[in-house]
């Protein structure tokens, strides 16, 4: 059963402990900054985005989702030398969208998660591209081939990561 349509009362809503809520995004940010130095191809992954999608879908709260996405995105922005807010806006929208989807759908199996991550990665990159070009005036080159390849890579990693993060879920 890949994707189950459920009512708001039927879906499981999870919560996370404070150390997990703060620690997991920080670890994701740290790994995102550290691993590409040593494993060069790792720069195609976006661990903070995967963490945003996971928390948003597990909590199934739109406000919590958009705030989680916004904060993680702003922190990710602050590590770069670009103006702060580009990742913030993109991840706020993704957080809101993922939690909205989480309210409607019970996405627990690998296939469903793969598709959800594939979709939200593409949404994230599209928003990021638009903001970076229109607001910040960065010169970006959009390549569908590259973006789809990165989306698949992130989806594969996300499936494994979500199963790992499932261990931190606490039933409400």
């Amino acid at each position: 059963m890949p994707i189950t349509y459920t009512s708001g009362e039927q879906v499981e809503v999870y919560r996370f402990s404070v150390p997990v809520t703060i620690g997991v995004p920080l670890v994701a940010l740290f790994l995102q900054a550290w691993l590409p130095l040593h494993i060069h191809f790792f720069s195609v992954f976006d661990l903070p985005l995967l963490v945003t999608i996971f928390f948003a879908m597990a909590r199934r709260s739109q406000v919590a989702g958009l705030l989680t996405g916004g904060i993680i995105g702003l922190l990710q922005d602050s590590l770069t030398h670009q103006p702060i807010g580009v990742y913030g806006i993109a991840k706020t929208i993704v957080g809101y969208g993922a939690s909205s989807l989480g309210i409607k759908l019970d996405v627990e199996n690998a296939g469903a998660r793969f598709l959800v991550i594939l979709f939200f990665y593409t949404v994230h990159q599209t928003i990021y591209f638009m903001i970076a070009r229109a607001l910040v005036r960065l010169t970006l080159e959009w390549s569908w081939q590259r973006e789809l390849g990165a989306a698949v890579a992130n989806a594969v990693l996300g499936v494994f990561l979500f199963f790992l993060l499932d261990r931190f879920k606490q039933r409400t």
Binding site: S43, L79, H81
Partner: protein, 396 residues
């Protein structure tokens, strides 16, 4: 009204959060050079992330050092022998290069040439990246507490890495050469064509502002031009890999960076530069003959009454009053008498060193080359003749 607000509460919050971020973004974009407004959040994030990075780098370096300094010593003897041979080769090369450098300095002094010199560097370890392909920059483990400042150049032994962009207390952000917001004044080594080395969104480096009627060959080296007041002149930037017609009247010159920017581990930050005018060696010319003569046992002074003209001629020829270099009155090895230079009026020095015979009389031996005398500096300059009215040569 309340029901509408309640129904669209989440959507209103979303719009509010997005609006706030867009407003903040617009303010930052307008103040293109101001990073102070967002400095606090940057400090928080960097302070939260970099200690872990520093810790991991420390663990990795320590493990590497233990393995390579204690466990993995196979082939060290052979490597040591090879390195010693390399040192010998480099010493010989150094002598040649020093001659070239001295000559260049003399020419620069003639032209009142001013140049920037790297006078102090600080080694730093690369501890992290920005994690974004659109921000090609790395974090290093040195900050304002170590004396780092904004815009300081960062290099490796291979060439230019970038410049310090943001300085925190214990870390700094270094903007890499291949970032799209980076630009370095550059000059091609052979053709001396100048341009600006710029990064692109895909992480490549191009030499910008080169006119299409200029000849640029692939393989030519690109150096810093020094005109941007950030990088000293002459540091390697990269090598031209491809030249193609670009937009309008410019060429598209692709450059491969001299440094592998995706594999950075240790870098040097140039913390102090000095601009000084080149000066030629103003040390008085000293000949190997003179130095050796001073080290030889002294010859007892002879009364000058016997033949004062000969003694004075020898003194004026050697340019020194050292009695040890007085040539013998009668010697089979006596060199030809020095003749005054017609144009300068100077007297060429006698090429030889004084050597003490068994009888105690010094004789002239052929001059030693500068490579044979490690402790004597030879400068081939026309010497000022000693003002000697007896020799009949006017002083300069």
């Amino acid at each position: 009204m309340e029901s509408v607000l309640g129904r669209y509460r989440n959507l209103i919050i979303l719009v509010g959060v997005l609006f706030a971020q867009m407003l903040g973004l617009a303010v930052q974009v307008k103040r293109t050079t101001d990073t102070e407004s967002t400095r606090l959040i940057r400090i928080w994030t960097v302070s939260a992330v970099t200690p872990f990075e520093k810790g991991l780098v420390w663990i990795r370096t320590s493990t590497y050092n233990i393995w390579h300094n204690y466990a993995y010593l196979r082939g060290v003897r052979q490597e040591n022998r090879d390195l010693k041979a390399e040192i010998e080769r480099l010493r010989i090369e150094q002598v040649r290069l020093k001659e070239d450098a001295d000559q260049a300095r003399r020419l620069q002094a003639l032209l009142s040439f001013k140049e920037e010199y790297i006078s102090k560097t600080l080694p730093a370890q690369v501890i992290g990246s920005t994690g974004s392909e659109l921000s090609r920059a790395v974090y290093i483990d040195k900050g304002s507490a170590d004396g780092l400042e904004h815009d300081m150049p960062v290099i490796t032994a291979d060439g230019v890495v970038g410049k310090v962009l943001q300085v925190f207390k214990r870390t700094s952000l270094v903007l890499l050469l291949n970032d799209q917001t980076s630009g370095v004044g550059a000059i091609l080594e052979k053709s001396r064509i100048q341009g600006v080395a710029k990064g692109t969104a895909t992480g490549e480096v191009f030499l910008d502002r080169v006119m299409s009627d200029q000849q640029v060959e692939p393989g030519e080296k690109l150096l810093t031009a020094g005109g941007d007041r950030v990088f000293p002149k002459g540091l390697p930037l990269g090598t031209v890999t491809k030249v193609s017609p670009g937009q309008e009247v410019f060429l598209n010159v692709r450059v491969k960076p001299a440094v592998n920017l995706s594999r950075l581990e240790e870098v040097l930050v140039i913390v102090k530069k000095e601009e000084r005018q080149a000066v030629a060696e103003d040390v008085a010319p000293v000949r190997a003959a003179d130095v050796l003569a001073q080290r030889l046992p002294g010859v007892p002074d002879k009364p000058p009454a016997d033949d004062p003209n000969k003694a004075k001629t020898a003194d004026s020829a050697s340019g020194t009053q050292n009695p040890a270099v007085v040539p013998p009155a009668v010697s089979p090895n006596k060199p030809p008498a020095p003749k005054p230079n017609a144009s300068t009026g100077s007297v060429p020095r006698a090429e030889g060193v004084a050597e003490k015979q068994s009888s105690g009389t010094p004789v002239m031996k052929p001059a030693v080359s500068n490579t044979q005398t490690n402790d004597a500096k030879i400068v081939e300059k026309p010497s000022k003749p000693a003002a000697s009215p007896q020799s009949g040569i006017p002083p300069q």
